[in-house]
Subunit: 259 residues, 2 copies
Amino acid sequence: MRVPQHLVDRRRERLRSLIRHDGFLPVAEICRRLGVSEATVRRDLAAVEANGDITRTYGGALADYNSSFASHDERSGRARPAKARIAELAVARMPRAGTVFLDAGTTLQAIARVLAGRRDLTRLVVATNSLAAASVLGGAAGVELHVVGGMFLNRQAALMGGRAIRALEDWSFDAAFLGGEGLSAAGVSNSHESVAAFQQAVLARAARSYFCLDASKLGRSTPHPVAGWDGISGLITDATARQLAAQGIVLPAGQLLRA
Amino acid sequence: MRVPQHLVDRRRERLRSLIRHDGFLPVAEICRRLGVSEATVRRDLAAVEANGDITRTYGGALADYNSSFASHDERSGRARPAKARIAELAVARMPRAGTVFLDAGTTLQAIARVLAGRRDLTRLVVATNSLAAASVLGGAAGVELHVVGGMFLNRQAALMGGRAIRALEDWSFDAAFLGGEGLSAAGVSNSHESVAAFQQAVLARAARSYFCLDASKLGRSTPHPVAGWDGISGLITDATARQLAAQGIVLPAGQLLRA
DNA sequence: GCCTATATGATTGAGGTCAATCATATAAAT
DNA sequence: ATTTATATGATTGACCTCAATCATATAGGC
C-alpha cells in the first residue's frame, strides 16, 4: 500500500497545479483526476495547504490567488504569506491620487486585492492588463479602473501583444508595479518574449517602476530579460539581502524594499 | 417579512461584489456579513449565479473569473432559458474563421459560453469589451481572443469610453454581436450614453451586425438610441413577430431571427 | 384600503463532507 | 534480511450543507 516518496511529491505537485489551473476543485473531482481515495486527497490537501499556495474549503480547495479568505490565518497571528506582505509594501508606495499600472501575475493580484481594500483613495487611476486584477478592482472605492486592451494569453490570463503595446502609447504612469518569473544578477526576466516586450513598454512610460517578486523566483533565470537593476526604482520582495547577495544581486539601500 | 425590491437588489449586488472581492466566501460567512438567514443567502446565490457572475460550490460561492467550472448548469437538462436559445442562433451565424465582435451583457455572455463549447472553430478571432465574455472564452479551442481596452464600467462589467472607441480603429469585423437595454419601433437603445457611443463605433466597423435581445427588453425605451432597423443586419430574439408588431416593430423576413 | 404576490426565516429529511481510527502492504532504514 | 516507518483505503460517527415545504408578514398592484 505504501508508495515511493517521489511519487507522492509528484502527485502533490500535480494537485497544486490542478487547483491553480482551475481556480477551484471539489474533492470528488480531485479523486477522479488523481485516481486516489478521498482520504488521500484530504491528506494531500492538508500538506499542500501548509505550503501556502492553496486554501481548503468545505468540499474542495481553491487557489490562493482567488481568495483573500487566506486572511483568516492573518488574524490567527501566524506568519502571513510572503505575497501578502509584498502586497502591503507595494500599496504603501502608491499615491492616493495619480496614475499607476498593475501587471499580471499572482503577486500583482495580491496587490490588487490589498488596493481594493484601501478606503483612503481619492482619485487613483489604475491601468492593468490583467483580467484577474481588473475583476478584483472593479468597483473599488476611489479607483478609476482601465484595462489595457490586447490579445489574451491563456497562460498568464493577461493581455499582451502588439495591440497592447500600442495601447500603452495613450498612457504615462506615475508608478508601475510589475511581476516577473526570474530574478538574477542580470535583473528581472520572463519566460515569454511578448511578456518581456510588454513590460519594457510599460517601463518606458512610467516615472517610477517597482518589480514585485517573492523569494521563490530567486536564482531562476528565464530566457527573456526585461530590465537590469539600474533601470528600475525598486525591488519589492520577501527575500533577504543576504539571499539576494548569494545570487549576485546587490542593490543600494532604498532600491531594495523588504517585505 | 417581505422587504422592498430595491433593497433585495441592493443586497444581491452587495453579495456579488463581496464574492468578487474575496474570491470565495462560505455561506455562513455571507450570512454574517449580510445579516440574513441561510435560506435567503442560498436564494440570493441562486439568483446571482443565474446572472453568470459567480459559481456556487458546496458550502459557498466563488467569483467566476478564474474557474472553468461554470458549465455545470448547462448540463442540467431543464428547459433552457431564452438566452441560451438566442445564443445558439447567434453562434450559428458566426463564421468558423474570421473576425467577430462580442458586446457586453448577459445575453452576450451566454453567446460566449456557447461559442466556447464549439469544437469546430478553426481560426476565429474574437474581440470583446466584456470581461465576463473574455473569462469564458479564454483558452477556448480555435479562438484567438482579444480584449478591447478602455475604462471599466462597474455596472456593465465592461470597457467603455474614449479609449475603447479609439482602440476600435485598429479593427474591422466580419460580424458584430451586440446587446441592448431597450427595443422599440425606433430601434435599439441603451440607458448610458457611453455604451451607445461605443456600440455605434462597433457598428461602423462591422460588415454585418446582429442585435441579440430577449423579449424582456420589448417596449422598453431607454434614452440613448444606438441604431435604427435599417442600419443592422438582423435582430436575434425570442420574441415573436406578433409581439414585435405590437410594439410597432416590423422587420422584413431575414432580418428577424427567432430563437 | 383591499387583495395578491412574494420575500423571509424556521423546520425537516436526505445526502454530502470530514477527521479519526484501523488494518495492511510496502518503501526506507538498519 | 529484518525491522521500522509510513502511505494508503475502508469504515465509522459526527457534523455540515442543501433543497423543499410551510407559515407569516408585508410590499406592490388594483
